[in-house]
Symmetry: C2
């Protein structure tokens, strides 16, 4: 009987070096994170992928709440007239909007956009809710999906519909809004680095790359294993742009009518793609313990032999009580070898193998997914020994990603060097701040400016492109 | 300064007896659960309303997971051709569908429905994922919003967009599917009765009232304070209906191709409306402690006096550590009296008032929202005394709702009695099972059959409407 199911497993993951893009597709489909939907450009997030998203949600949501944010839900449909109110914003998003033109049997007099983002509807409500400085700040967030009609799509990275959170806040002063913008970027950084194990560069976007309608956009940028950049989260300071367009005014402490200062910030299921492309290897996923839906899988060996299942049950109960996310793979339709491959593909950080010989020796065989090394641990000290192992794997994956990234950054002072650098990683360069230079770099090398990192220690004083006086240190890279 | 904000508060809640519908609207708007959106028939769920929804989600989601269900996410857009595959289903939902006809600048060749429910897309994926009995059961759920283009809408009760969860499962046998259908209904009942404090009748819907495409629909029905019924959750057994339309087959243990047996079940933000209309009173909401986002609010009295804020901070920390959801209302822009009204309107189960005299006496003044009674509790035993008080309030609200309901149910044997009964509550009647009788009752009394309760102890043997032999005990009521 086992044979039948195992046939499914003789699938092949394309080697990363051969075709990184195909490797990515193979891994996300075969590990059952995601599947293609019968709708153009959309994805189905399967249980294992959704469980990772739930972990990300928990980590982010608890930090949002700890910093005084509250969750709300705004309608997904936005009347066209509302979307048109802020000129830059509509220009940026109109080409990507899916339009509802019919409701039931009724043709709508005004078409409705499915939200590509919700600044406009938040603004409409804020203008209704705010009257005095006492009502400020309002710091709201929502978890939802948005639709952006993309031409070419890839699961998690760019799809017509994706899941995200979008925070929208309004404040009395410009200083508070700026503080909020940077605080939320730092929360993204913390979750991405400390939980997902992905090092990021935080900094400010160029005017060319900023969000439609923002005064300033900040981003965190991660490097994938093919050297390309992935923008993993953004935080925007709108100043009073939207407040002026939507007339969001409040009576100040001095009794004057003032516009509120506004921010928004978002992170999405794209982060799952970032986990895959930062940590994955030839066998499939490698998940950092803090984000792994299953941290430890127990695989019984010779399960039919006396005492094996009993010991597995006992260890399972013990680890669960200790707070680990643990799974006992008790399937009797597949072999242990099949299970090993399966959980390696799915990137479970630690596997415990427990068979008659292990029991005899008083130890479990321990396989760690990050290094693929096997060792043993005494049953008597399992909980105590597994905790530091988890920390070790968590840190190890981060360090490995960081080492990779840092060895794929080139400080460049000429266009030739820049062109070469972005073939394998990021180019770190000085820039004059003229969008024309960004455009030239994009046209010649298909690379875009990523961000101007907060650490602006200069590496020269002339623009890498035009040679004029440099204003900023900036990263260029090909990007997802 | 305080005066300015307090002006807002001199709003009026319409008495329940005078106009229940207006009372409901006043309460949900003034307690800031919800607001109208600038989109026809849609609602904005505000922080306090969303916090209640998060509590409901946690209670449901943990029970779904404990019974082996996994969360996923399916696209919100469904191609028309997919929606058309199951005939009854499309007939039921087509009149309520919002259609996307344009994506970006491109006019779509096939229009896309925004999901009114997701049976069709789950079926499309299940047909791809299932091949053997070893793949079964698949028990998936998703939390999302759906759109149904409603003609007349009311926040929480009936809106063009609402939040819900929809579970979709497939099984080897008819028995398993039936068991699942009833299990999920019972989980709904448990959450609704034990957490939300709302008594419900569980039973089977008539064929006329069942879900489009289902073989059998089960529901839980609650009675609101105006005597009308609210369908608070449904669970459907599809048999092989959808499996045949979508060709979801598996290789059985006997090596034969068989159709899967399917269920779906859903509950929504409607439950928030049920909480309001079950427990609310002239002062506003009354929230059962288990669903209340804030269980205890601490209001300092004469906060400027020495020691008051210190004591409040101390009690706050103590209660928080003890696991209560507690809030310290330290606003200095409004008076204690304003705060009392505010938190009563918002239905917080317990209010602690702490002022200089209380501190002197070593007690906090305790106001319980269910009975509006004031008492005192010694600071030294606060945690120990508050826990049973919470239980008491939880049970008290349930009992009150149950007593109300039971006193508004009339056993009827004639149409005249039925017509009178549904003016103030539910009519319990015998019924022949002919939809023609349901239709007549609907036309004469605007009442519909709610469900055939599991306890079928007969109260007669002839149909209340036609006088023919009765088949079922059934509830009739006017309904939301």
């Amino acid at each position: 009987m086992p044979k039948q199911d195992e046939k499914k497993f003789v699938t092949h993951i394309t080697p990363r070096d051969e075709d990184f893009s195909q490797w990515y597709t193979d891994v996300i489909l075969q590990s059952e994170l995601v599947d293609y939907a019968p709708v153009r450009g959309c994805m189905v997030v399967r249980p294992y992928g959704y469980a990772i998203w739930e972990r990300i949600q928990q980590e982010m949501d608890s930090r949002f709440k700890a910093t005084g944010h509250e969750n709300v839900y705004m309608p997904m449909l936005i009347p066209e007239s509302l979307l048109l109110k802020e000129a830059e914003h509509v220009e940026g998003f109109a080409p990507e909007v899916a339009w509802v033109t019919q409701g039931g049997n009724e043709v709508l007099t005004e078409r409705l956009a499915i939200r590509p983002t919700s600044e406009t509807i938040f603004c409409a409500m804020y203008s209704k809710w705010v009257s005095s400085w006492r009502d400020l700040p309002m710091k709201y967030n929502q978890w939802c999906s948005v639709i952006r009609w993309e031409k070419s799509t890839r699961p998690f990275l760019r799809t017509s519909e994706f899941l995200w959170q979008e925070g929208h806040t309004i404040h009395e002063t410009a200083e508070e809004a700026q503080q909020e913008t940077l605080q939320m970027l730092d929360i993204y950084r913390e979750v991405t680095e400390d939980v997902l194990g992905i090092p990021v560069f935080c900094g400010r976007k160029s005017d060319k790359e900023k969000f439609a309608g923002a005064r300033a956009t900040y981003s965190m940028e991660a490097m994938m294993q093919d050297g390309k950049a992935l923008q993993a989260g953004t935080s925007h300071n709108f100043g009073t742009n939207f407040a002026e367009a939507f007339n969001i005014q409040y009576l100040s402490r001095e009794g004057k009518l003032e516009y509120v200062h506004e921010t928004s910030w978002g992170a999405s299921t794209r982060l799952i793609g970032a986990i895959v492309m930062s940590h994955g290897d030839e066998r499939g996923l490698r998940l950092p313990p803090r984000v792994a839906p299953i941290q430890i899988v127990i695989v019984p060996v010779a399960a039919h032999k006396g005492g094996v299942m009993e010991k597995c049950d006992e260890v399972f109960a013990q680890l669960k009580t200790a707070g680990f996310r643990v799974k006992l793979d008790d399937r009797d339709t597949v072999s242990p070898g099949f299970k090993f491959n399966d959980w390696e593909l799915k990137g479970v950080p630690v596997r415990l193998e427990i068979g008659p010989r292990d029991i005899e020796n008083g130890v479990a065989t321990v396989f760690r997914r990050d290094t693929c090394e096997k060792t043993t641990m005494a049953f008597t000290s399992l909980v105590a020994d597994l905790a530091p192992l988890m920390e070790d794997i968590q840190k190890g994956l981060f360090t490995q990603a960081e080492t990779f990234r840092d060895s794929h950054i080139t400080e460049v002072t000429t266009m030739e060097e820049l062109g070469k650098a972005v073939e394998t990683g990021f180019a770190k360069a000085m820039w004059c701040s003229d969008p024309a230079c960004e455009l030239e770099i994009k046209e010649r090398f298909s690379a875009t400016s990523r961000n101007m990192p907060f650490d602006q220690t200069p590496i020269g004083d002339t623009c890498v492109c035009c040679g004029k006086k440099a204003q900023h240190l900036i990263y260029f890279a090909k990007a997802y």
